[in-house]
Amino acid sequence: MAVESLAGNVSETPATGQTVTLEVFRYRPEEETEPVYQAYEVPVHKDWVVLDALNHIKDHLDGTLSYRWSCRMGVCGSCGMMVNGDARLTCATFVESLLPGPIRVEPLENFPVVRDLVIEMTDFMEKLESVKPWIIRDEEKPLEDGEYLQTPAQLADFEQFSMCINCLLCYAACPVYGLEPGFTGPAVIALAQRYNLDSRDQGAGERNAVLDTDEGIWQCTLVGECSEVCPKDVDPAAAIQRYKVSSTLQWYRNLLMPWSSK
């Protein structure tokens, strides 16, 4: 007979008998101008992550709660929220680690809230595009000539910065972004650095125009929280810091040898 006992519908997993309270940030623009907190009592299941608890609320208690999620495996980057004040991926944060609760769930900080736990992120998308995150070359090699060779060491130079899932936790954690919404911000700078450091790319100069500016890297005061909260160890703070070093060297080079710059 077929595989019958496939449990996977997360709401049907064994409960421990305990319950926990989720205090969820609610904001319904049609009804209220200020957010409120709504408490939900949710059963505790071993192996449940905070996202499972939210799904339980949505399925069984209150269908109006809105939030984003998709992969439930920490790679699509959509489920970032503030959990007890920390920026977290809710699909990677176990309920058990937060007992006895209550667990406070809020939208990511520093972003406008569209509704409930859904934040507005077009600002981020525009910034992402502004740094030209694609391979820029003076001359493209035809496909017939095969791949650009890249040694494992050259790959390692930028690999870490290519791991970003655009979850925005770093933006929620960075107070400078909260204060200065114009700040390009950690993930976008890390992405620019990912291309700058790629041996196949020649576009660093073009990206500099956006990054080596007061709204770019020079806005960052190395709070470092961005790297602390990053679920993928991208270490955007390091990306920014190294960018500052290379920009500074370039600055002095231009100063001392103006003829060498383009």
Partner: protein, 578 residues
């Protein structure tokens, strides 16, 4: 009404590749990508293992074709497979030129790894986050093409068809709740698979078969829907995938006695090192079926979330695991609290992939003029009765590029939309508006219907199927089709109303479920992933053919058949491990 030359529904690997193909081949055309999630959230992001294409000198296109065809139990169309294997290397190279961080050999050339069902190592990989890197590379590259516009977080509810051709869609802008018709000369559906029809799946929340249902409702047949791939190694409870690369790097599957049980199922004899097309590197359908047999013999282990077996990669050592399978380790540590360097990984078969989908030809055109499809939502078909691991990511690229060109050529020849289309759009807008207003009502919760569907699909369309179970499930789905009419929606807000979206997705899934069950019950043979306990043998006389499910409003779908295209590989026995 908004309007574009080409509208692509879906911003996953297939959709983005198609968009770039349009922008590159017909830069004068204006192309838009509509996606219900930001493109980089699409489920392509979670693919781990790799993408197949012939690159090493001892490999050949014929070998890749043969592996694909035999892996698909001779159901793939061989002309499509030949085109696929031929264009695959170029597409992956193109990804390299666009910046995809493929893993490398010491000399700097691209590295390949072996994969299940493959005779020669030909899987390109970017660590074990291949899909992630491909999707982000495609998305970031797409940003450089000005003709490509995006509708991020817009949810398509209907295809507009008039005068025998598809001329646009209606979609909800989630942030504002505005329902909007978008006209187009050609529409390409790249909405991905439908794993969420089943309860236990590797698929993300967004994989609801939307595009399949949209096409099906527009009268386009769904092809080979009975072929649902179970991946042999998912984590119990979450269904998170442990990539096949664990096995290609040398992982072993062990039953409760620590025995490599695959040797009992005609998959070869155990060797300490991985052997291609043998044992753990057999095809997914055979491995998943072997699990069920072990289960019947009582040789699996019991856990809180059902039976499981163990995947052992400890002998690979920490270094290999960290360099080649870091994501696997991360997932195990984060979601199961086990360290695969020291511990066994509990795994069980899990619904993973749809071989079937929207019926298209080799260029991605559907029988409905102006409607095209590619990616997991489509069935070309190269996957036949069982897809080989790492062929899908390549398929997104090859057929994404093809469909983009084909749609662009078609669109360049078309004139604008007729007036009837606007009226149709207005009608659909009104229908959705009514649904908004129905919020706050009484009735059954959506979760009940979903649970009913899950139970029906699991018992009827699991790894092994039978006439009786399929009939019962089909009846159940038809009941659910009625029940969903009266479901309760709490939310009447226009702003980011995810409940309304989920309700529409559920209705899509019921349509897809109906097609799966009907196709499965008509196919009275066993082939690849479709195993009938009552018809255990392959039957080439009657079923060397694709099933086509055609929607019949208010009744079960009609199933038609279309012969498989055979070019150079006459049907043979599938041999693994010998």
């Amino acid at each position: 009404m908004l309007s574009h030359d080409i509208l692509i529904v879906g911003g996953g690997g297939a959709g983005l590749r198609a968009a770039i193909a349009v922008a590159e081949t017909h830069p004068a055309l204006n192309v838009a990508v509509v996606s219900k999630v930001y493109p980089m959230r699409s489920h392509t992001v979670s693919a781990e293992g790799g993408a197949a294409a012939v690159i090493s000198p001892d490999d050949s296109l014929d070998d890749h074709a043969y592996d694909t065809i035999s892996g698909g139990d001779w159901l793939p169309d061989q002309d499509a497979v030949e085109a696929f294997v031929k264009e695959a290397p170029r597409e992956l190279l193109q990804m390299e030129h666009w910046g995809c961080p493929w893993s490398r050999q010491p000399d700097g050339s691209v590295a390949v790894r072996p994969f299940g069902g493959m005779k020669i190592e030909r899987t390109w990989y970017a660590s074990d986050k291949t899909g992630f890197h491909m999707l982000h590379t495609l998305f970031q590259t797409s940003l450089k093409y000005d003709p490509i516009q995006r509708y991020d977080e817009w949810f398509v509810t209907k295809l507009l068809v008039d005068d025998g051709r598809c001329q646009g869609v209606v979609a909800i802008d989630l942030a504002t709740g505005r329902v909007q018709g978008i006209g187009a000369k050609a529409v390409i559906v790249c909405t991905g698979g439908c794993g969420k029809v089943f309860p236990f799946t590797t698929n993300a929340n967004i994989k609801n078969g939307d595009g399949m249902a949209l096409a099906y409702r527009a009268g386009v047949p769904l092809k080979d829907m009975e072929f649902v791939q179970y991946h042999p190694t998912g984590l119990p409870f979450t269904g998170i995938l442990i990539t096949e690369a664990t096995r290609s790097e040398g992982g072993h599957l062990l039953n409760k006695d620590g025995y490599r049980y695959l040797q009992d199922y005609d998959l070869g004899t155990p060797e300490p090192r991985p052997v291609l097309r043998s044992m753990e590197l057999g095809p997914r359908d055979r491995l998943s079926q072997a699990f069920v047999k072990e289960q019947e013999k009582g040789r699996t282990l019991q856990g809180p979330y059902g039976d499981y077996v163990n995947l052992d990669i400890r002998h690979l050592g920490e270094k290999i695991i960290n360099s080649k399978l870091p994501f696997v380790r991360e997932l195990c540590l984060k979601y199961e609290n086990i360290d695969p360097v020291k511990e066994l990984i509990p795994v069980r078969p899990v619904v993973h992939y749809m071989m079937g989908g929207i019926h298209t030809d080799i260029m991605g055109a559907t029988p409905l003029a102006g409607l095209f499809a590619a990616g997991e939502a489509a069935c070309v078909s190269i996957n036949g009765a069982n897809r080989l691991g790492s062929n899908s990511l390549t398929e997104l690229l090859v057929f994404g590029a093809r469909v983009g060109k084909a749609a662009a050529e078609y669109a360049a020849r078309q004139k604008g939309n007729g007036t009837a289309v606007a009226a149709q759009a207005a009608e659909e807008v009104e229908r959705i508006e009514r649904q908004y207003r129905s919020g706050g009502g009484k009735g059954e919760r959506m979760a009940e219907i979903r649970r009913g569907m899950h139970t029906a699909m699991e018992s009827g369309a699991g790894i092994y199927r039978s006439h009786a179970a399929l009939q019962k499930s089909a009846q159940e789905i038809s009941n659910l089709q009625n029940r969903i009419q009266g479901i309760r929606l709490d939310d009447s807000s226009r702003t980011f109303n995810t409940e309304l979206v989920a309700a529409i997705e559920l209705s899509y899934m019921l349509d897809v479920a109906e097609a799966i069950l009907a196709s499965a019950s008509q196919r009275t043979e066993s082939r690849g992933s479709h195993q009938r306990t009552d018809y255990p043998d392959r039957d080439d006389d009657d079923f060397l053919a694709h099933s086509l499910a055609v929607r019949q409003p208010g009744a079960a779908p009609a199933i038609e058949y279309q012969p498989v295209t055979i070019t150079r590989w006459p049907p043979g026995e599938r041999v693994y491990g010998r």
